[in-house]
């Protein structure tokens, strides 16, 4: 069975939309992180889709880079979140506004 490329793209768009919505509405830093991951993977899905449609491995290669960078980002980001949680017993980003102008 051959699934058309458009379906993958629609799925990716939906995943991206869900991720973006979550990022804008949630207050918990942890949830926001997961939303960002969702958006990144939605983009990965489009890369892979186009790689297959256009028979170009460049798209797949890019996905590996994105995954590596995302892993590094999560490491650093979770470290920050844990540190913040230890100090404040909360991960609500609305309370983190010391740096505002």
């Amino acid at each position: 069975m051959n699934v058309p490329a458009a379906w993958y793209l629609i799925l990716a768009a939906v995943l991206f939309g869900v991720g973006a919505f979550g990022l804008l509405t949630k207050r918990s830093a942890l949830i926001m992180f997961m939303c960002v991951e969702l958006m990144l993977n939605a983009v990965n899905l489009t890369f892979v889709t186009f790689a297959r449609t256009l028979s170009d491995v460049g798209g797949q290669a890019t996905v590996f880079f994105v995954m590596v960078v995302a892993a590094a980002e999560v490491t650093v980001g979770l470290g920050i979140v844990v540190a913040v949680f230890r100090r404040r017993s909360s991960t609500s980003v609305d309370e983190l506004s010391e740096m505002k102008g």
Partner: protein
């Protein structure tokens, strides 16, 4: 010859460096005799160089020391030009300097800054020798600035006195104005002839257009008026009398102030190209001689009288240069160095004996207290007044005879000046040495004492030179004496039809007549006492209000402009611009900081919105 010439120049520098490096370890006497000694050696070497030069033909040697500046087409060597003019200058500069150094040992005895004084004096002699021996304008300019600098230091030697400090500044600034003239002359000559070496300039002088030649002469004249205290830059010299008296004698009477005249003589081949330029020089000289002589008649300070007398005598020299009588100018320069140094040192001896009093009204009757100063001063007085057979009678007569050929009007001015000279010097003499004793107040009742031998020896030597100085250039042996010796240095002399013997005798009789008249008038007026306001015009005493004129035309407008800058430009324009930038940055920052709300979701929204805008843009472009 080369070594001798180099040593002449270097001896004072050696003295300067020795005292500079060992100063604190040397005793006052050692410093004094060392400083005097090196200059005396310079003088002896000058005599040697003079005889070596006599045996050479032509009388001209260039001594190359080293290559100094070499940029593009500009090549300036550090080289000395030994010719009749420069060796004549060397002889009298080192000779007079050695005497004045000796005198200074006595005069400055016990001063706190005795070593510093001799340092400056030695450096001054070095600069002066550099000025006269240089073979190019740039090296001359170095010496020119050097003497100016030493003059500044020495005028403000007592710098803790306000008057001395500001007199030093005044001398320096007036000289700067003149320096501009000399620099412009150098620029002009370099742009037209491509060289600054005297002999090469003279070779190429023919290529100068008359306009350029006139410009060069006029700018040189400006330089000379600054250094030689001529109108319009003459009024620094009387103020320069704030310096110690030996300085007045050495720098502000005998040597440095003649630098301007020397420069004009040195550039005589260029002067020969410009009739308007030479006419201007003659007029400046003649008018200065007369104006300064009138001022000298009303001054009450013994040194001020001598200062204005110096300005007046240099006016004669400039007048002589203007009419083309260069050797006559040098002749007067030398004899003036003798008698003016004598008069200044004599006045210094008088001031010394009266514990520093300089006011003529507080002197009088000093004749019997100063057995050596009195007769030497008497000789100086008769010399400057133009009484035969003393030196100035011959030199001034030489100049006036030349001027008579050139212009009768300037000659009348010159004769009037001679009359005034005899008058004011006799007034000075009578008020100082004759009449009743008015000095008891300043000496606290004591009798004034004669100065030590180091001070009186130079007086005697200078008096002897003033008596016999005339033999340098007696009119009937012109070609075998000074003027014949100097002629090769002056290349293109504008030909003057020399007056016949009878006319010369007539002119000499006129000179003697005005001298005697001046002396008699002065004695009959001033033997009655010093308080005769009828004969002391306040207009003359205030130097024709010349300083007030400069103050009104230059000083006050400049002060007003500076005040304007302080009141308006600085706070409004400059501070306005600086503060305006700061305020505008702060205001825009105040607006922008509102964007930084601290809510992460707002930043995320901004990012997503930006992304949406990019997507819409890309889609629209494709569609």
């Amino acid at each position: 010859m080369a070594h001798v010439a180099t040593l002449i120049l270097l001896m004072p520098l050696v003295g300067f460096l020795l005292v500079l490096l060992n100063g604190p370890h040397l005793k006052e006497k050692q410093v004094g005799y060392l400083g005097t000694g090196v200059v005396a050696v310079s003088f002896v070497l000058s005599v040697v160089a003079f005889f070596l030069l006599l045996n050479r033909s032509p009388h001209q040697v260039t001594v190359n020391l080293f290559s100094w500046i070499s940029v593009g087409t500009l090549h300036v060597p550090a080289a000395l030009l030994i010719d009749p003019l420069s060796i004549t200058m060397c002889l009298f500069v080192t000779g007079i300097s050695a005497l004045i150094h000796l005198y200074s040992i006595g005069y400055m005895h016990g001063e706190k800054d005795f070593r510093k004084f001799f340092l400056y004096l030695n450096l001054f002699v070095f600069s002066m020798l550099l000025l006269v021996m240089a073979n190019n304008l740039v090296l001359t300019f170095v010496g020119w600035e050097g003497v100016g600098l030493c003059s500044y230091w020495l005028v403000s030697f007592y710098f803790d006195r306000d008057a001395a400090a500001s007199a030093g500044k005044k001398a320096f600034i007036y000289n700067r104005v003149g320096d501009v003239g000399m620099l412009v002359a150098m620029f002009l000559l370099f742009s037209r002839t491509g060289t600054l070496t005297y002999l090469t300039i003279f070779d190429k002088a023919g290529t100068l257009t008359p306009t350029v030649a006139t410009l060069v002469v006029l700018t040189l004249l400006l330089g000379a008026t600054g250094k030689s205290a001529q109108i319009p830059l003459f009024n620094w010299l009387p103020d320069a009398m704030e310096g110690p008296t030996p300085v007045s004698a050495l720098i502000h009477a005998a040597t440095m102030v003649t630098a301007g005249v020397y420069l004009l003589c040195r550039m005589s081949p260029i002067l020969a190209l410009s009739v308007p330029g030479r006419t201007t020089i003659a007029i400046v000289g003649g008018v200065t001689a007369f104006v300064a002589a009138t001022i000298a008649c009303s001054q009450k300070d013994i040194k001020k009288v001598l200062a204005f007398s110096t300005v007046s005598q240099i006016g004669y020299m400039v007048l002589a240069v203007g009419v083309g009588a260069y050797s006559a100018a040098i002749f007067l320069m030398i004899s003036h160095a003798f008698f003016k140094a004598l008069l200044f040192l004599g006045s210094g001896s008088v001031i010394h004996s009266l514990n520093g009093e300089q006011d003529l009204r507080k002197m009088g009757g000093l004749q019997k207290f100063l057995p050596l100063t009195f007769p030497t001063f008497l000789i100086g007085w008769l010399t400057i007044s133009g009484v035969p057979p003393f030196a100035a009678f011959w030199s001034k007569g030489d100049i006036l005879a030349n001027v008579f050929e050139y212009s009768k009007l300037l000659w009348i001015l010159g004769v009037l000046t001679a009359l005034l000279t005899a008058y004011y010097m006799s007034r000075l003499f009578v008020l100082t040495f004759r009449g009743n004793e008015r000095f008891r107040e300043v000496t606290a009742g004591h009798d004034p004492h004669e100065s030590p031998w180091v001070m009186t020896t130079p007086l005697v030597v200078l008096a002897a030179l003033s008596v016999v100085g005339g033999i340098l250039d007696l009119p009937w042996i012109h070609h075998n004496s000074l003027s014949g010796f100097l002629t090769p240095s002056f290349g293109l002399i504008p030909t003057l039809s020399h007056a016949s013997g009878l006319a010369q005798t007539g002119l000499a009789v006129v000179d003697v007549a005005v001298a005697v008249l001046g002396i008699m008038v002065a004695i009959s007026i001033w033997r009655k006492g010093p308080d005769q306001p009828r004969y002391e015009s306040s207009f003359l005493e205030h130097v024709w209000h010349w300083d007030d004129f400069y103050d009104a035309t230059i000083g006050r407008p400049l002060t007003a402009a500076s005040q304007f800058g302080d009141d308006v430009v600085e706070p409004k324009v400059i501070d306005g611009a600086v503060n305006g930038i700061a305020v505008s940055v702060r205001r825009s920052a105040d607006g922008l900081r509102k964007v930084q709300s601290g809510f992460v979701r707002q930043y995320a929204l901004a990012t997503v919105l930006g992304l949406a805008v990019i997507v819409v843009y890309l889609v629209a472009r494709v569609g």
